[in-house]
Every structure is written in structure tokens, then in C-alpha cells.
Symmetry: C2
Subunit: 350 residues, 2 copies
């Protein structure tokens, strides 16, 4: 049993202690999936019906600093609690996991999860199957978030979408004909490493000019520091950044964008220009109905997506640009956990 406290949140009602009443739901639930979204700080969990309704959410610390084994134990413990919460009347279709990094077909974390030390190489699925006797599936967290947006969010009325998650880096997910596209070894959607500026800013992947160097949270903060260091006029943003360069982040920048600070606007426009270039490359390959922008940076919403949409046709074949909309994500921070559960229905309930 996990030592850490479990916090339960109902979609609407909870008792004084924050605990969830599931009894009503249990009597009508038929087929549900368990979804768990693994982050650097928290695990999020959900019990979800196929249509994305009847959700019951919970979360617990992931304790990522304590290594791969502890993370896995926490995932198993949370899954167990969600199984209990689903109730005896529910048929559990399976357990789905969204995780940083990419996951091989056998359920091993193959790489790309650098912020979770010791997680690479972990076999996620076999222990879940063994412990609970149900089917289990896992995929990249942004990939499953894309599936959730496709099913329940910004892409629910169309067939083909590509999602970009603007967070610490930039992740991506591709949904084709309503189905998740994982690519060889689960690695599709590395959109953050599309090069948008020849000989541009050095990326830690070894290449130069990757879009995440300009438009991720980290990229926007670095861009602000560079532009402020070289600014001729001492705008309020420049003063703030010079005072404490390490404290600036994307949120700071956008506080000043809303005040029409000239340097902040230059950061914003550069970030959106680079995103538009990446979207142009993606659209030229896939001609999707929509490109959905999500992730923490997209708390700024249409301020970003509208500017990207305005610039996008300059970087995409004309006929494709006319049919591809750039829109903000709709599910916010819940996309990952809903997608993890949706993955179960996608893989096991055809």
C-alpha cells in the first residue's frame, strides 16, 4: 500500500473530507478504463467510461526522485485504488498509462524520460497485468493527451489532428482517422525537434534551431533573456529580467505581453513565428484537419494560437493551409489522464 495520501476529486460532488462518493456511479457503470498519467511530481488517475463521461479522478505523488522502482510501485498502488473505486459492478476494460518518454511495444520505457531518473528500462505493463489480471497499455504522455483531445476535446469532430504540447520542452501527438499513431517504437511526434531556423539556437539534442528552443516554456524564457540582454530600450520586461534573469519564465513574459511591452511582444512574435514554421512543416506532411496547441504555456490560450494561425499560411502549402485550423487545446491538464484511459478503449475494445 502506498504510504502517500490519495486525494480524490469528484466531477461535481465530494464530501467534507474531499472523498468521493462512487456508490451512485457503481450501480450504472458497465465498462470502464483506468487511466494514469505519470508526471515528474504527480500521478493522476481516472476511472472513465468509453464516452469520456462518468469520470472519477484522483492523484498522488509520483516520487520521481526516488527512482524507477518507487515510481512503478506508486503507479501500481494508485491503479489498485482506482480498481477498488471503480466498484464491483464495473467491468474493467484495462489500465492505461501515459508516461514521459517513449514506450516500446512490449511496455518497456525505451528513452526520452530524462526527468525521471531510473525510469528508462522499466517494464511497466507486465507488473500491472500480473497484479490485477487485466489488460494494460502504455504510451507517451503527450501522445495519449492528443488522443484525448481527438476524442473529447479540440479535435472531437474531425478525423486527423496533430497536437503540440508546449511545456518545459515541446512534445507532439498524432491522431489519424481517429486512431492514435505511435510510429515505429512509439516515437512519433517529436515535433519539438523540427528545425525552424537554419543554424539557429543550439538544442540539447545536438541539432540547431529546433522549435522547442524558441517556443517551449524554457525556450520562451531563454529567448526573453537573450532579447533583454541585447535590448536598446529599458522596457519594464527588460528591467525585470535584468534584476533577476533566473526568475523569468513564460508566464512572466506573457504578463508583459498583455501590457504591450515592446520586448515582450518581440519574444511572443518570435515564439509564434517559430511555432508557425513547425506547424507548416507538420501540415505539409500530414494535411491534418486541426493542429491543436496545448501544454502549460497554452494557459495563454488564443493570444498564442491566433498569432500562430495568422503566421501559419506563410509557411505551408497554400491549399493545405486553407484546410488546417490552428486551435487551442480544450482539456487542459486533464488531457493526459483522460488519454491514458482512452488508450485502453482504443487498444482493447474494438
Amino acid at each position: 500500500m502506498n504510504q502517500t495520501a490519495i486525494f480524490l476529486e469528484a466531477e461535481g460532488t465530494s464530501n467534507k473530507a474531499g472523498c468521493l462518493y462512487l456508490s451512485e456511479c457503481e450501480t450504472v457503470m458497465k465498462e470502464v478504463a483506468i487511466g494514469i498519467d505519470l508526471g515528474g511530481t504527480n500521478l493522476k488517475g481516472v476511472v472513465m467510461t468509453r464516452d469520456g463521461a462518468g469520470r472519477h479522478r484522483t492523484h498522488a505523488p509520483s516520487e520521481a526522485d526516488k527512482g524507477g522502482k518507487r515510481i512503478l510501485q506508486n503507479v501500481i498502488d494508485l491503479a489498485g485504488q482506482l480498481m477498488d473505486k471503480a466498484g464491483k459492478n464495473a467491468r474493467i476494460c484495462g489500465i492505461g498509462i501515459g508516461t514521459p518518454g517513449f514506450v516500446g511495444p512490449d511496455g518497456t520505457v525505451l528513452g526520452g524520460a530524462e526527468n525521471l531518473p531510473g525510469w528508462q528500462g522499466t517494464q511497466i505493463l507486465a507488473p500491472l497485468r500480473k497484479r490485477f489480471g487485466v489488460r494494460a497499455a502504455a504510451a507517451n504522455d503527450v501522445t495519449v493527451a492528443a488522443l484525448a483531445e481527438a476524442r473529447f476535446g479540440a479535435g472531437r469532430s474531425v478525423r486527423n489532428i496533430v497536437c503540440l504540447a508546449l511545456g518545459t520542452g515541446i512534445g507532439g501527438g498524432v491522431v489519424i482517422d481517429g486512431q492514435l499513431y505511435k510510429g515505429t517504437h512509439g516515437m512519433a511526434g517529436e515535433i519539438g525537434h523540427i528545425v525552424v531556423e537554419t543554424d539557429g539556437v543550439q538544442c540539447n539534442c545536438g541539432m540547431k534551431g529546433c522549435v522547442e528552443q524558441y517556443a517551449s516554456g524554457t525556450g520562451i524564457a531563454n529567448l526573453a533573456r537573450r532579447l533583454c540582454a541585447g535590448a536598446i530600450h529599458e522596457t519594464p520586461l527588460v528591467k525585470t529580467v535584468k534584476k533577476d534573469p533566473s526568475a523569468v519564465n513564460a508566464k512572466t513574459v506573457y504578463q508583459y505581453v498583455r501590457k504591450r511591452d515592446a520586448v515582450a511582444l518581440e519574444v511572443h512574435e518570435t515564439a509564434c513565428e517559430m511555432l508557425a514554421r513547425a506547424c507548416g512543416a507538420v501540415a505539409n506532411v500530414l494535411s491534418p484537419d486541426r493542429i491543436v496547441l496545448g501544454g502549460g504555456v497554452m494557459k495563454e490560450g488564443r493570444l498564442i494560437s491566433d498569432e500562430v494561425a495568422r503566421r501559419f499560411p506563410n509557411h505551408c502549402w497554400d491549399a493545405i493551409a486553407r484546410h488546417t485550423a490552428i486551435v487551442p487545446a480544450e482539456l487542459g491538464e486533464n488531457a493526459g489522464v483522460l488519454g491514458a484511459a482512452a488508450l485502453v478503449f482504443e487498444e482493447f475494445a474494438h
Copy 2:
């Protein structure tokens, strides 16, 4: 009846007059598809079984200079002759058309077929269905070529491939989980317009630095003219090009590449570098098993694909690059017509 001569080619045997004996085949043929590949000069036709075997090919002038109606009439006439050749014992699954440009879901040519004046706006499928009473499907010629490479050529043992056709321009086709991916309004795969050089060479699409400005047949010839005009040393290629700049084409350039002409090698390396950048962007989005290089320019074969493969890891996320092979196409000029027939089985014979 089409006035133009029909040339028949058997896969192995033909009589002295070049005519095809179909009688043997007719007795064993069960389900076949008719495929027609529409080019600026010729129509190619095929009667093909599902496994790509038992092929019987034919061709006829497309008379593209005589307008959309004449092209369509020639397509119908050729289809009629192929129906006859298939024989009475064959069950015709349908007729498939590969055409320049992109085709809407209803079978109308929506655009991108600039080298066939009057072809845009043509309804291709309804007249074929009406005339022959069979199902018909149409898609972009490079897209169907990709399907053929996936089924019978360079991608036959893997699930996900992207094809680039290096011709007058650069077209692309995407096959996902063995199925053709067309994108919204049939427009996926405009890989020729991926930008590979910020503020690069002006493209006729309105953007700058599109890969087809460097690595299509036209792009390579233009690149050779630019580099020769600015060359310090009078290499044999420089002399040839200066004598008659308009006569140079990709074939000329590669004649000199094989002789290790320094300027020709620079053209070759630049073209391959730009292709590697485009392949990097494609792979970062889709993480395909293989990127297949085809089209007229790829008559140079591994000379090009090996150089692109060597440079590709510099432009792609490391883990993806390790699992994506860059390979030459295997079906040559037949890819389009075989793909047109394969499209029929894909759409109608599940």
C-alpha cells in the same frame, strides 16, 4: 474508341508483334483491379491481382495539351481496353486512377495539377462508374506510388513509410499501418514544400527555401546553374553549363558527379543535405520505418540515397534516426500504375 495505338507489354512473354497473350491468365484470374497512371505525356494502364502479380501493362498518349475532356476520354478508353483484356473470367474489383494534383473525396480534381491544363475541376470517377458499372477510386499519383512501394516495393516488409518522388518537383506519399494516408481533402504529402533553408531560394509556391528548390530535377539544374555562374574554377561541368545553361538537367549534373567534378559534387552534396533536412522533419513527425526516395532523379539510385542517409541523423531526433532507414524506391516508373490498381483493393476489398 481511342484512336491512339495501345502498346501491350507482358511481364515476361509477348509474341513477335509485342501483343500480350492473356488467355492463360484469364483462366486463373479471379479478382483483379484496373490501374491507370496519368502523366503529362502518357497514360499507363495495368490489370493486376491483389498480390501485385499477374500484371498486364499497357500505355497510351494522355494528350494532356488537348484539355481536360480529352484526357478523361483517353482514360475511359484505356480503362475499356483494360476491362476487355482482363477477360470474362476475371472479377473486376474496380478501377483506380493516379493523377497529378489532389483529388477530393467525391473524385473531383481539386488542384495541384498545373501541368495538365483544364484538368482541375474534372470529375474523374462518376464517368468511369457510369460507363463500366464498377467501383472507381482516385488519388494523387505520388500517393498511390507510395502505396505500391509499401505493398510490393521498398516498404513491403514494414508498416509505416513515407515516399518522396524526386521529379520535376518533389511529391510525397504517406502509408501508415500499411494503409494509404490521404489527409484532409487528399492533400497529405506535400513534402516538396517543407522549408529546409531559412530565407532560402524563392519557390513558386510563394515560400522561400522549399526542399524542391534544391533537390527536384528542376531544383538540381537551377542549383547547378547558380553554382557554375559563381564558380572560381572552370571545371568540366562549369564549361558545359556556361556553353548552354538551358541544356543542363539533373542527369547532366550526375554524369559529372560520377567523374568527381568538384562543382557537380557540390551540387550533389547540397541537394542531399536539403533532402536530409526534409527527411529529418518528416521523421520527427512520423517516425516511419523507412523513407523511400523515388522519382526520375532517383535513377541515380544509391549515389543519392546513401548520401542522404549519411546526413539524415544530423537533422533528426537521435532515437528516431536510429530506427528510420533512407532507401531507394524499387518499382521505378511502374510504381504509379501499380499503386493505382492497389488503391482499388485498398478501398473496396476489405
